[in-house]
């Protein structure tokens, strides 16, 4: 995660006790993190009446996949379809954002043109303004463009990522100017310097921003909830949130096993991807987190 700088050592006589206390606390915390997942999966493998048993069974008495089968066949709870929508939208948003943002970041970091600083200040100023203020006018625009219930409605408004521009510009600015000048002497054009020098050299920053943008898009609720209304067009967060209303009963659910099966099905792929790429993902959030939200 970080360099192998040596943290303070536990060398006291009480070190053993502290160490045991530390492990106990961390393991309790780990249980608090893991138990909700366990309970989600356990409930999803029960029948709905079993889910309401009192006292509850800590593991499903006769595990059943019936709710997963229901999800695969029923249209109003089409988790695979929602997952596909989420994936297409998140991938497209990430690609478009990285391309548009890195081009502009190179322009602002290295190229010269009239009003450059003025434009940059106006762009950066909008970082102070919460994004909810865009929502109503953007909704009306997207509606007038006929984009409601299309992927376009989610992808394009997310593409001008001001924070990403700011982040990449910082990285591009630290690239030694002498190397860029040497490339120019060798006859490289601006676009080649951007594509063959800036992009490869800063690929870690680009990957970090890419992961950040992808996860944001994948998990976003408010905007897709507004612009995607038909069942088959929903993303996972939207589909699940609507289920929460449709199957909600007070502070419980009318069909908890079905709801937990939908939740499990939408979070298990995330768990697998996270376990594979956890180092990259945590690094990405450390890098982008220090720079902004």
């Amino acid at each position: 995660m970080q360099g192998e700088a040596q943290p303070p050592r536990l060398t006291d006589t009480s070190a053993q006790i502290s160490r045991i206390a530390l492990y106990v606390l961390l393991i309790l915390l780990a249980i608090a993190i893991l138990f909700p997942f366990y309970w989600m999966v356990a409930t999803s493998l029960k029948t709905n009446p079993e889910a309401f048993y009192y006292p509850p069974d800590f593991y499903p008495p006769q595990p059943t996949l019936e709710h997963y089968e229901i999800i695969m066949t029923r249209d109003d709870i089409n988790v695979p379809r929602w997952g596909w929508n989420s994936l297409v939208i998140a991938v497209a948003t990430t690609v478009v954002t990285l391309f548009v943002t890195s081009l502009a970041a190179y322009g602002f970091a290295r190229l010269d043109f009239p009003f450059k600083n003025l434009i940059f200040i106006v762009v950066i100023f909008t970082l102070m303004i919460p994004s909810q203020i865009y929502m109503i006018p953007n909704y009306l625009l997207v509606r007038d463009l006929g984009w409601l219930d299309t992927y376009h409605a989610v992808i394009w408004p997310a593409a001008p990522n001001v924070f990403g521009l700011f982040l990449l510009r910082q990285f591009f600015s630290t690239f030694p100017r002498e190397l860029e000048e040497a490339a120019t002497v060798d006859g490289a054009s601006r676009i080649r310097i951007y594509w063959q020098l800036m992009i490869p050299v800063n690929r870690n920053a680009l990957i970090a921003l890419g992961i950040f943008v992808f996860l944001h898009s994948w998990n976003d609720l408010f905007w897709p909830l507004i612009v995607l209304s038909r069942v088959e067009n929903r993303t996972l967060p939207v589909g699940l949130a609507v289920l929460a209303g449709a199957y909600g009963a007070g502070d419980s659910f009318s069909e908890p096993a079905l709801i937990m099966a939908a939740s499990s099905m939408s979070s298990i792929p995330v768990l697998i991807v996270y376990v594979i790429f956890q180092r990259r993902i945590t690094q990405s959030f450390m890098l982008t987190g220090m720079g902004g939200r």
Binding site: Q2, L10, D12, S18, R19, L22, L25, L26, A30, I33, P36, F37, W39, M40, Y54, V100, T101, L103, A104, Y106, G107, F108, L111, F113, I119, V123, T126, M128, P130, Q132, I133, Y134, M135, I136, P137, Y139, A159, T184, V185, N219, L221, F222, I226, P237, L240, A241, L243, A244, G250, D251, P256, I259, M260, S266, V270, L271, V275, T282, G289, R293
Partner: protein, 308 residues
């Protein structure tokens, strides 16, 4: 050689013959920022200005859209639900930010100690953060129910409860805060871990020679040195939790009664349930003003650099 570089990197200013080339050069440079700038103008700059404008109109999906001056703002100031929503939002934002600023410090300090398996704990503790609010909301709602929730069953074994965590008007906001803590503490934890790795070790060595022990080091060295990062986390958390929407939408639907209505939840209702777009933009503008005030605080604190 030098002159070749000059010509290729910088245009020759003030030269009559070169002015056309200068402008062609500049146009080429503009091309790099143009795609971003067009999208920025359409989807960020325009809607900010349009929101300001719309908030002075009675702007509903159908029918005429007359200019009404400050009537939307006037209505908000006299609207009980607006004040309830604002109060809930402020309560939630401050409580959640306090939790998410303080608790992860201690977790990060613990995970910065040298012991086997600390990377496993780091990986595990960050995981809830990559889940969507919808999954977290559904699972927590199922866990925390008064009648069928497993948490209340476990509390019942030790003789507590049942506690209506999300069905009680006094408990609902603290419950949403703790759920948010569970969901999101991994992010500030990582930021603190990055900060801790930047504290030079000789400071601890010197303190040890002076006789300082574990807790004293935390209290008098680690936390003061983390101060700028703590402030940064506090302000960024506050800004982001003022915009809370998903937790009430998925977990409580604003209830019980209106006890977990937040500003953005109310804006969503006004604009997409009642189609009162102008009224909704007035709420967004007022919230933006509040959040900008906190952002200015961030710039004040963020500008300081840490010296060891």
């Amino acid at each position: 050689m030098i002159s070749t570089i000059r010509r290729s990197l910088l245009p020759e200013k003030h030269s009559a013959a070169g002015s056309w080339r200068t402008w062609r050069w500049y146009l080429g440079n503009y091309a790099f920022i143009l795609p971003f700038l067009i999208l920025f103008a359409i989807f960020i700059l325009r809607p900010i200005l349009a929101s300001l404008q719309m908030s002075f109109f009675r702007w509903e999906i159908f029918g005429p859209k007359p200019f009404i001056g400050f009537d939307n703002y006037d209505e908000l100031l006299n609207d009980d639900l607006w004040w309830v929503a604002l109060q809930n939002t402020v309560y939630f934002a401050f409580l959640t930010s306090a939790l998410l600023t303080t608790v992860p410090i201690f977790i990060a300090i613990a995970l910065n100690l040298p012991f086997r398996g600390r990377n496993v704990f780091r990986t595990l503790f960050f995981f809830p953060y990559v889940l969507s609010a919808s999954v977290v909301g559904l699972v927590m709602r199922w866990l925390l129910g008064q009648q069928f929730g497993i948490v209340n069953y476990l509390l019942g074994i030790v003789g507590i409860g049942p506690i209506p965590f999300i069905a009680d008007s006094d408990l609902v906001i603290p419950s949403l805060s703790v759920i948010t803590l569970w969901w999101a503490f991994g992010f500030p934890m990582l930021i603190y871990l990055a900060g801790l790795s930047n504290i030079p070790q000789d400071i601890y060595e010197a303190a040890r020679i002076d006789g300082a022990r574990g807790w004293q080091m935390t209290r008098y060295i680690t936390i003061p040195l983390l101060r700028p990062i703590i402030l940064f986390v506090a302000v960024t958390q506050l800004i982001s939790h003022f915009q809370v929407f998903a937790q009430p939408y998925v977990i409580t639907n604003g209830g019980p009664a209106q006890d977990s209505f937040t500003v953005i939840f109310y804006m969503f209702r006004a604009a997409w349930t009642y189609f009162r777009m102008g009224f909704g933009t007035a709420m967004a503008v007022l919230l933006a003003v509040i959040i900008m005030a906190f952002t200015l605080l961030q710039f004040r604190f963020g500008g300081r650099r840490l010296e060891y």
